[in-house]
């Protein structure tokens, strides 16, 4: 079943990330001083406090670091259970909270290799917003 897709609201700190998402590209910030790849997107490095942060296109590949199959929850998400909430560890290092989609929730586990997909999302006015970064299991 299609998961709810509520669009996030970008601000000046994360515009390149969401602009990338609109083009189906995973664009992440990297610290120019210490090389730390930053998640979530922002403009001050949480590792060394440098403000020299630039943006690059990441591979979109990673593996499941942890996950939970949610089976009971109130509200709109209760209508799409069971669904998979996960932390995906990207090849570039950061761990990202996300959903694993196009999968059988009974057969998703830690270590599964995944790739990014961007899913259309709408904001509270019903307008199209930046798409959501989700992941699906990849072969090989």
């Amino acid at each position: 079943m299609k998961l709810p897709a509520k669009a996030p609201e970008p601000n000046s700190e994360n515009t390149p990330f969401f602009d990338g998402a609109r083009q189906g590209r995973l664009v992440l910030p990297r610290c120019g001083d210490c090389g730390f790849v930053i998640w979530f997107p922002r403009q001050i490095c949480p590792e060394c406090s440098s403000q020299d942060v630039s943006w690059f296109e990441a591979s979109g590949k990673g593996s499941i670091y942890s996950c939970t199959v949610t089976r009971r929850i109130p509200g709109g998400w209760g209508k799409v259970t069971p669904f998979v909430l996960a932390y995906v560890e990207l090849e570039e290092g950061p761990r990202v909270m996300t959903n694993i989609v196009d999968c059988d929730p009974e057969h998703v586990s830690i270590g599964d290799r995944v790739e990014a997909v961007f899913e259309e999302a709408t904001n509270r006015d019903g307008e199209s917003g930046p798409p959501l970064l989700r992941f699906r299991v990849r072969e090989g």
């Binding site: 998961l3 509520k6 996030p8 979530f40 942890s66 199959v69 929850i73 909270m97």
Partner: protein, 395 residues
């Protein structure tokens, strides 16, 4: 570091009070009245006049602010007000710590640590509202259906079980021990409701690996502890439970929800524990009884390991139902029924129960309990933990 910079034994809990504990939304009293009733009960327990109170400490954005409480109680001097920044219920032992710190600093003399909630009146705790803006850090969690603490900590527990290969059996034993203890505790919301292995195993999944019985209750009520200088305690009604140590516990980037905490597979207690036992002047082996905050049972397993009460290797062997029982167990746990079966007063009930054990007043009394540990809020960004002791522990 000189002993002058430790609160060890200088302050005691001299009074505890609780309202009736209600199921979620069932209190006839508004929340503020519940808090007043708990404070008055604690004063009566201590043999103190409410007008003796001159300080208040709470946590988790408690809605019942000290000026309003002081007004309602006719308190002549309000010298100290303190709120532990929110972090789930992780502030319960911190509220006691902050009260003790205020007394040691001479900021106030009689300080109450309290927590009240009427969720029927104000809605549930720890749940993300659908109307919250999907911006800032929430832009990377809410759109993915991360709506509850249960999901966030289910992922942490899954990773813990994956890395260490323990926890599944221990989680069941913890839930069963809590329900077992609630059967002797008439205050417990689950008094009269037993839990056996089959019932646990067949209960519904909430979010894996948590079943229904792995998750804390939702309740209405209030609890309060009154603290004062240990040398003043001897004139009061009850034997004092000395605060031997109390510590807050946040680690490197432990506040990372959508970002990357450095040490993910943790109950958040590693930073505090090294200070905790040193300050208390006791070791894990000296602890007679443990109250370990169950937001979710998986967090308790990690908490007990990080407090040195069992190990990553032997957790499933040590944390058995028989070992966790007050009646004959080697590691009596959550002897009031805890957040799973007594009441979820955001963990303050566990601090109260530790005091009862030191006094010898628990409904599941551990024989000759002299040292009681009570922690709060495993897996939250800032947890807290405390050790209480009988006067003779100071020697």
């Amino acid at each position: 570091m000189s002993d002058d910079y430790s609160l060890r034994g200088k302050v005691a809990v001299v009074g505890v009070g609780e309202t009736t504990y209600y199921k979620h939304g069932q209190s006839a009293d508004p929340e503020f009245v519940l808090v007043l009733k708990a404070i008055l009960a604690a004063c009566a327990d201590a043999g103190l006049d409410p007008k003796d109170i001159d300080g208040f400490c709470s946590y988790s954005n408690d809605r019942n602010d000290p000026p309003r409480l002081a007004n309602a109680l006719g308190i002549p001097e309000l010298r100290y007000s303190n709120m532990q920044w929110t972090s789930g219920g992780g502030g319960a032992a911190a509220a006691v710590q902050n009260a003790a710190g205020a007394i040691v600093a001479g900021s106030a003399e009689v300080v109450v640590a309290y927590r009240g909630l009427a969720q029927g009146q104000f809605g549930r705790f720890g749940r993300s509202g659908g109307s919250r803006p999907v911006s800032g850090a929430a832009a990377y969690t809410l759109p993915y259906g991360m709506m509850s603490a249960a999901q966030m900590y289910a992922m942490r527990t899954t990773r813990f079980m994956h890395e260490h290969g323990v926890g599944r059996d221990a989680m069941r034993s913890i839930a069963m021990a809590c329900y077992h203890h609630a059967q002797n505790n008439p205050r417990a919301v689950m008094h009269g409701r037993t839990l056996d292995e089959e019932t646990y195993d067949s209960s519904r999944w909430i979010t894996e690996p948590y079943r229904l019985f792995d998750c804390c209750l939702e309740n209405d009520g209030a609890a309060a502890l009154i603290l004062t200088r240990t040398d003043r305690a001897k004139d009061l009604a009850k034997p004092p439970a000395l605060v031997l140590a109390a510590q807050q516990s946040g680690g490197h980037r432990s506040g990372a929800t959508a970002e990357n905490t450095t040490d993910y597979v943790t109950s958040s207690f590693k930073p505090a524990v090294k200070h905790l036992y040193k300050q208390a002047g006791v070791t894990a082996a000296d602890v007679d009884v443990v109250q370990s905050y169950e937001n979710f049972t998986g967090g308790v397993v990690m908490s007990l390991i990080e407090h040195g009460l069992c190990t990553y290797e032997n957790a499933d062997e040590v944390l058995t139902f028989d070992n966790l029982r007050a009646d004959g167990g080697t590691l009596p746990l959550n002897t009031s029924g805890g957040n799973l079966a007594e009441c979820y007063m955001h963990g303050l009930g566990l601090q109260v129960e530790a005091v009862r054990q030191i006094r010898g007043e628990s409904s599941n009394q551990v024989a000759n309990a002299k040292v009681a540990l009570a922690n709060a809020g495993p897996m939250v960004p800032v947890a807290s933990t405390a050790i209480y002791g009988a006067e003779e522990v100071l020697g």
